[in-house]
């Protein structure tokens, strides 16, 4: 009767050990692939948010964020959609609301957003390694618009600066190998760094960021 795959043989079939209690909603499916279409299979699981407490410890703050949808989540991207330096989340689900946009209302802290303009390197500086020095803290981030699953991140790097509104040093290691060290930068803004010359400009949202190429 019942057909189900085995740890050692995905195509093996065999019978159930007991009758299911139908009143309870128990079931045996004679085809394991149909479980998901007739019953719960990892159903109503809440998408989770874990706050990094430092020292490789995390705390589940899913409920406090309100982003703990129990729909069937599939992909998520994070970006600063409002241009205020706080990272929002856009979530895709196959059930329970297909597209959810969670705006960030954590207490505001300082930030620095960095875009790159490559010349010797590729145009967006993809693959660059950026290091922010804040007193005795060093934050290392890489510019890869990663996929993670059915999605793509945007091509900028976001640094949370906590209570520091300036950055002691920003080190950019470009894909080409060029290294720039920029000191004493104001935070709370989105900047573009040029590989040619290592100069910085502040992005004015709504105004085109020049490509640096011959337009």
């Amino acid at each position: 009767m019942a057909v189900v795959s085995q740890p050692f043989d995905r195509a093996a079939t065999c019978s159930a050990p007991a009758a299911p209690d139908l009143e309870l909603g128990e079931f045996w499916e004679d085809d394991p692939w149909t479980i998901a279409f007739r019953h719960n299979l990892s159903g109503f699981e809440r998408n989770r948010t874990f706050l990094n407490l430092g020292n490789r410890r995390f705390a589940d703050i899913s409920y406090l964020t309100g982003s703990d949808s129990d729909g069937d989540g599939r992909s998520v991207v994070a970006a600063d959609f409002r241009g205020n330096g706080q990272m929002d989340l856009l979530v895709r689900q196959v059930g329970g609301g297909p597209l959810l946009l969670f705006e960030n209302h954590f207490p505001m802290q300082s930030y620095l957003k960095v875009s790159l303009r490559g010349s010797k390197s590729n145009s967006l500086g993809i693959g660059a390694r950026l290091t922010v020095v804040l007193g005795d803290r060093r934050l290392v981030r890489e510019l890869y618009p990663s996929n993670t699953f059915h999605s793509q991140a945007a091509s900028f790097v976001h640094f949370g600066l906590a209570d520091r509104d300036t950055v002691d040093k920003l080190i950019v290691r470009w894909p080409s190998g060029t290294v720039h060290e920029l000191t004493d930068l104001d935070g709370d803004r989105h900047i573009v760094i040029d590989e040619a010359g290592g100069t910085i400009s502040t992005v004015q949202p709504g105004t085109m960021i020049p490509t640096g190429r011959d337009e």
Binding site: W33, G73, V77, V94, L99, S151
Partner: protein, 591 residues
């Protein structure tokens, strides 16, 4: 093409089945269905690996008793706590009930003006029946109106395997969530318990709960909800997107289209491409506007509707500073200065190269792996051709040339260098891959996850080739659907977070499975199948420590895409992880 992908994902059902259900089945001699019969010749089965009937029946009895406990035991207690019905709780607890609880607020895990997180663990004091009920109601009193009260059984078994009618023991998690003066609060209590045999007659009678030992209490609160859902308010109302929960056609699917970010017009506001392969119109490109609003710019930009379009990638392939748009194996659009997308499919060989891989590319990522200044592309595939064959334990699947490294040679042209570069990344189904500089040598490396087994790290040899290694000797990821990377401990090395499958049912079954039937290695692999997501901490020089598998981040559920993102701007990368496979009916048993 899409059908293949769906079936790939469905294939993972069997993983849960094999641990949470199929161990319950008898399997003295395998019987093959018609479609599989031709391919079974080279599958060897050790008959001794099958569980005896009585073991399968025991495992099923434990699961069945758990279902009974949830329906007729925990449900009534949840309601009594929610409604503050002390008299109902008195009926449940045995007259000689013995409880012990941890001291409240032993450790402050995080605290600022807005958020406070506390954990109590260890030190206990004894409580008698009425004291324990008072303690439970004290937890409840932290909330105003009726909070959500949920019990989750993490393990359950009779004290003696041969005496189902005797006492049963287990572990459980009680979660109470709700508001106090509009502020969100959550209390999570982990406890061990002893009860009478969870049969309906016993649970309907009085005094079935005899012991409760609370081992950990987590309490969390904040001044206000930390994130707010505003998709419709901001213009992202997409009624055309498929939703299994509301679909009128009744057809449920496993996968969705994607969500792809870019700044196609370089105005500093992030834009979003949403794809929906099930819709006649499959492309929705939203232009980001001030204040987080969006407007549909698809037609303005002359981007066609591309029915069935699914997996996409923004990549500046002509290196002009404007992100071009690729639909994997389908089309290439050149970004004309942010004003429009021009069909450049025929001007590039990219589509042909991806189609030549035969199986649909499921993920594309950008990199300049050879550091020549041009963006290259890596494609992963979820191959199901071997899907119903072989062993879940071995986890093999996928074709020899599953993934592709496509090197940009300029002028929109690419060459497939997978073989020469050694960049295939394992002959296994791979949902995605992440580029990172794992050894901080300035050359991009790539980590490829595998649907049915541990992933592979391809270390860039600085000469156009890669050396493949496992991220750790026994990383033991299984059921890997998603992958995020970032330096979570701020030590300067990029770590990886792998979204795997966690199953409460699977873990219960594994707890009850006698260790005498399978060897240690097999038992460990079976456990890993349901153990959940892992954070692999990079110790530098491509050495990763897989032991940082904290319970807190492992037990997410059936994990999919995730992001490492600093949500509170404190300089530490937080985690957002999506999960859930298919939901059908609340409060019913899960597969």
């Amino acid at each position: 093409m899409r059908g293949r992908v769906i079936y790939t994902v469905v294939g993972v059902v069997a993983i849960t089945s094999c641990v949470a259900a199929s161990l319950l089945y008898r399997g003295r001699s395998p019987v093959f269905d018609d479609s599989g019969s031709e391919t079974q010749a080279n599958v060897t089965i050790e008959s001794s690996l099958y569980l005896p009937d009585d073991e399968r029946e025991f495992l099923w009895e434990c699961e069945h008793h758990g279902n009974v406990l949830s329906e007729y035991g925990w449900r009534a207690i949840s309601k009594a706590i929610q409604q503050r019905q002390g008299d109902e709780l008195v009926k449940t607890l045995a007259a000689d009930f013995r409880g012990s609880v941890t001291e409240p607020h032993a450790e402050t895990r995080f605290e600022n003006d807005f958020i406070s997180l506390h954990r109590s663990v260890g030190t206990t004091h004894e409580l008698h029946r009425f004291e324990f009920i008072e303690w439970l109601l004290t937890l409840r009193s932290a909330f105003d109106s009726a909070p959500v009260v949920q019990f989750a059984t993490l393990s359950l078994a009779p004290t003696s395997r041969s005496d189902l009618a005797g006492d049963w023991n287990g572990r459980c998690r009680l979660r109470i969530s709700g508001r106090h003066e509009q502020q969100p609060r959550e209390i999570v209590v982990a406890f061990n318990f002893t009860i009478s045999e969870p049969q309906r007659e016993n649970l309907d009678a009085e005094g079935w709960w005899s012991n409760c030992e609370v081992t950990q209490i987590d309490s969390a609160k904040s001044q206000d909800v930390l994130m707010r859902e505003v998709a419709a308010e901001r213009g992202l109302l997409l009624s055309t997107l498929h939703d299994n929960w509301t679909t009128t056609t009744g057809s449920r699917v496993v996968g969705t289209g994607g969500i792809y970010l870019c700044d196609f017009n370089r105005d500093g506001y992030t834009d979003v491409l949403v794809t929906e392969p099930l819709s006649i119109r499959s492309t929705f490109l939203y232009r980001g506007l001030p204040d987080g609003r969006f407007e549909d710019a698809t037609y303005d930009l002359r981007l066609p509707t591309l029915p069935g379009a699914d997996h996409a990638l923004f990549a500046d392939i002509d290196n002009d500073g404007w992100e071009d748009l690729i639909f994997l194996g389908r089309a290439v659009f050149r970004n004309d200065s942010g004003a429009k997308f021009q069909d450049a499919t025929r001007a590039s060989n990219l589509t042909q190269l991806i189609i030549a891989g035969e199986i649909e590319g499921i993920s594309g990522t950008v990199v300049d792996y050879d550091r020549d200044g041009l963006i290259d592309i890596y494609i992963t595939r979820a191959d199901v051709s071997q899907f119903n064959q072989g062993s879940w334990i071995d986890g093999k699947s996928g074709a020899a040339e599953n993934n592709q490294l496509l090197r940009n040679t300029g002028n929109g042209m690419f060459e497939d260098v997978t073989k020469a570069a050694g960049a295939g990344g394992g002959q296994r189904s791979a949902f995605t891959a992440n580029w990172l500089d794992a050894n901080d040598d300035g050359w991009p490396d790539v980590y490829v996850i595998h649907e049915f087994g541990a992933g592979a790290l391809l270390v860039n040899q600085q000469d156009g080739t890669f050396a493949q290694q496992q991220v750790a000797e026994h990383s033991d990821d299984f059921g890997s659907m998603g992958l995020a990377s970032g330096d979570v401990d701020n030590d300067g090395n990029i770590d990886v977070y792998v979204s795997n499958m966690y199953s409460k049912a699977g873990n219960r079954v594994m707890d009850n499975l006698s260790s005498k039937f399978y060897d240690t290695t097999t038992m460990a692999k079976l456990r890993r199948m349901v153990a959940g997501s892992q954070l692999h901490i990079n110790q530098g020089d491509c050495k990763f420590d897989p032991t940082e598998n904290r319970d807190d981040i492992a037990a997410v559920g059936w994990g999919w895409g995730s992001r490492l993102v600093d949500l509170n701007n404190d300089g530490w990368l937080d985690i957002h992880a999506t999960c859930g496979f298919m939901s059908k009916e609340r409060a019913k048993p899960d597969g």
